[in-house]
Subunit: 324 residues, 2 copies
């Protein structure tokens, strides 16, 4: 089995390639693993043949080059994140829309001679939803994004579904919950503070909370996210019908829930490191909770508490001891 | 006021330009009317300055050329229809996606120096919806098209909303009901039989009904459709919020309702001209009825019966006498 990860140098891409290197895909051995990103991805330690590419997906010929060897399974995680796509309209559309379309087109054209229809797992986002939103968002709720990033992800879902319907590929789009706790440095995602208010205090450092503690949102750990991707890789997609995008299960929790879980894990001292300036960022329009019947019926599972999410961060990502 | 119609040579474009030539826009005189299409549109009889362009919207430079004079109001009706977009994937994506995007981009770039934010009225379609569908489709129902045409229209809606949110243009996307009775020759729209089973018998000619008479669908006349476009041209778009796409009111009726209205208008002899082969086309996944609260609150109105729709066709389009 040939596997390709586009966007392999990102946080999820690294965790996913490390796990595939150890476990394979659904019990199947991986013969070759192609890792592509705009910067050269690191090779995970494995005996599998690993190829790495530093490539601009939206540049002419890039996608064709990646798809030439006909990978059986493609994870498309590459994206300019929400904050950056909002700040730089042209870059966001180029990478998130043109890049995705170039990849799908390259797959279509690679299959022209027949017999090629790879599984494509695409990471979409809750940003496809925008206010006014009900407290509980159903699987049939309309996607009306309020950011260019969300627009580009919604378009990616539509393209993936159309190309799947036409038989060029076998796609599944995953609207991941907001991933917490993201390890490492903050990225430019607007939702970054959900991680930093836990990650920085766990490392004995200050963090800024720019929203009200009552804000409710939808979360899963990086480990759950990698689990979602691997589950999607082997899922029977005939169960999806023509709707190839799924809102994934998550934990509906408030910022206050996060903070109380931090207190239980690392004490009052850690909580006191969260600075809460008077000026609030307006995020009232973000989704709060979902009913994810479709994804649950298909076997996707997320965490049930913030304590579990913090524990997973400590197990998987925290190098330094907790500053309790 | 400068008005541009892209797709002016089509059925709706011709009716719209003729009506603007007579009435102006919302009581305002039109100083110049630019009519563009892939073939040179006819000039309506008017004292207004009319410019015509035969132009491929998706070709490099075309959209920039059209937008250079900064029209205040742009109707974007140009599209490859559903049947053709399904038969020719590349053409459909090129015209319906790339062409629309080129137009929006040209508007954005024309406004770079400031002070330009035209009203853009975009014709979307019920084809943005796909089964499984409830009997009554709400304004917040998810758009999951089952054709490439519907996919391209859904993407157009997303782009229009994002470009409006960012202030580059002031867009409104109208999901028109299926237009009946379309005058003239059949086009390649999959829904063409809804018109032909009335139009051909009214002209004393045979027509083929490829579906069951119980099929229910959502209809409006060409006159109502032109009314929708003109209403959208002057609507207070602040009432739309960020959701720039509207499902429009229509008449929910069955093919049997159509046939009975034909019988009332032109007698049994006309009805006997409808041929009903045993092989049925599968259109069970088409939308049947909508609750269009948003559009109704904004003043959009359609017909209440098929008798009215036939009467409008006879008044507006039928040259020959009814073959009763």
């Amino acid at each position: 089995m040939k596997v390709m990860i586009v966007g392999a140098a990102g946080m999820l891409g690294r965790k996913l390639s490390a796990r595939i290197a150890v476990e394979g895909i659904g019990g199947q051995a991986v013969d070759s693993l192609v890792l592509a990103d705009v910067v050269t991805p690191d090779k995970p330690p494995t005996r599998t043949v690993v190829e790495t590419h530093a490539i601009d997906l939206a540049a002419p010929g890039s996608a064709e080059r990646l798809v030439r060897d006909r990978p059986d399974l493609i994870f498309h995680l590459a994206a300019v994140v929400s904050g950056e796509a909002e700040a730089d309209l042209e870059k966001g559309y180029r990478v998130n829309l043109d890049g995705t379309r170039a990849l799908l087109e390259a797959i279509r054209l690679a299959g022209d001679s027949g017999g090629y229809c790879p599984r494509v797992v695409f990471t979409s986002s809750l940003a496809v939803f925008g206010e006014p939103l009900p407290d509980l968002i159903e699987d049939t709720f309309i996607t009306t994004p309020l950011t260019s990033y969300g627009t580009q992800k919604a378009i990616g879902e539509l393209l993936l579904s159309d190309y799947s319907r036409r038989g060029f590929l076998d796609g599944i789009a995953l609207r991941l919950p907001t991933i917490v706790i993201r390890p490492g440095k903050p990225n430019r995602a607007a939702s970054g503070f959900f991680s930093s208010i836990l990650r920085e205090p766990l490392a004995g450092q200050e963090a800024v909370l720019p929203v009200d503690v009552g804000l409710r949102h939808w979360f899963a750990s990086p480990r759950a996210a990698v689990g979602f991707l691997l589950h999607a890789a082997t899922l029977d997609t005939s169960l999806l019908g023509a709707r190839r995008a799924l809102t994934l299960p998550g934990l509906s929790a408030t910022v206050a829930d996060e903070i109380e879980a931090l207190r239980r894990a690392a004490g009052d001292k850690a909580v006191r490191l969260i600075r809460h300036p008077a000026i609030e960022r307006i995020v009232a329009g973000w989704p709060r909770s979902f009913r994810t019947e479709r994804a649950e019926a298909l076997g996707f599972r997320a965490e049930a508490s913030f304590d579990e999410i913090i524990r997973i961060y400590v197990e998987d990502d925290l190098d330094a001891p907790i500053a309790a």
